[in-house]
């Protein structure tokens, strides 16, 4: 089995991190809500876009561990380092 980058952490630490991320997401959502009321036009669209991308990154990074995929791939290609000259 491949190693899990979080395997050594305790359940408590990881739960706590999840909670912090959730709070960050909640704050951003509230910010979005008021951005929609206070601003309009291109500025509103940009701010909403930035906030949504931030939220998506938080979810993808902390909840979905997207980096795991990258961590695993080099393992597979055994002896990948050498390159045939072209």
């Amino acid at each position: 089995m491949t190693t899990d980058s979080h395997a050594n952490e305790t359940q408590r630490t990881r739960n706590k991190r999840g909670l912090i991320v959730l709070i960050a997401l909640a704050v951003l959502t509230v910010v979005e809500f008021f951005v929609a009321i206070w601003f309009e036009g291109v500025l509103q669209l940009t701010l909403l876009g930035v906030s949504a991308v931030l939220k998506a990154l938080l979810i993808a990074h902390y909840f979905m561990h997207w980096r795991q995929v990258l961590d695993h791939i080099p393992d597979i290609a055994a002896g990948d380092a050498d390159v045939v000259e072209d």
Binding site: Q11, E40, I76
Partner: protein
């Protein structure tokens, strides 16, 4: 030939009889599916701006939109916790958090059904905004439903005690899919509820 045998021995040590790890393969497969689906949602969300610009009807229930977002974000935490619990061998915890996620999913569904019921009068599917509203929420809801079904299967297998440290792919996969459903909503929510200015729209506006 000796080098070949060395590589073989090395591989055997790392992956057993196969030359690859099935966990990596499953993770990669799920991520490819998520990337593919993300393209679908990109088309979906951008079509909203084509079809109905940035105007939104004032008949939209803003509180409900915010509440739906909150429920889905909370369920993302519970899905995360179920995965953490499963990875530490805490079967009871995993079961509990999966169940909470499923319940949150049903609450979300209830919200959408209520929203649709209201929307049918204010901006029916045949109107400009109604077209995008029902398409976006409808397709997102099919993802929520499939996520709930997936979680239900995982719950059943968790109850049988099939998951533990090092072999909890079922929980992890279902949780990742659920996070993706949440992630899609992160973009759909501002697109439908927040962008632009609230304007009065008739049933045919």
């Amino acid at each position: 030939m000796a080098m070949t045998d060395l590589i073989h021995a090395d591989l055997h040590e790392r992956y057993g009889t196969k030359a690859y790890s099935s966990l990596t393969m499953h993770r990669l497969g799920l991520w490819l599916f998520i990337i593919s689906d993300a393209f679908f949602f990109t088309a979906l969300i951008s079509s909203r701006y084509f079809v109905s610009g940035t105007d939104r009807p004032d008949a939209l229930i803003q509180e409900l939109g915010l509440a739906l977002t909150a429920v889905l974000l909370l369920s993302s935490l519970s899905a995360y916790r179920s995965e953490v619990a499963a990875s530490h061998g805490d079967t009871e915890g995993a079961k509990r958090w999966i169940m909470i996620t499923i319940i949150a999913g049903f609450v979300f569904l209830g919200g959408v059904v209520f929203e649709w019921y209201e929307a049918f009068h204010d901006f029916p599917p045949g109107s400009g905004f109604g077209t995008t509203f029902f398409t976006l929420t409808g397709i997102h809801t099919t993802h929520v439903i499939s996520g709930i079904i997936l979680l239900a299967f995982v719950y059943r297998r968790a109850a049988k005690g099939e998951y533990g440290p090092g072999h909890y792919w079922g929980v992890e996969g279902a949780a990742k899919y659920w996070h993706f459903v949440d992630l899609a909503w992160v973009f759909i929510y501002p697109t439908l509820y927040l962008v632009g200015e609230s304007v009065e729209m008739g049933a045919h506006g």
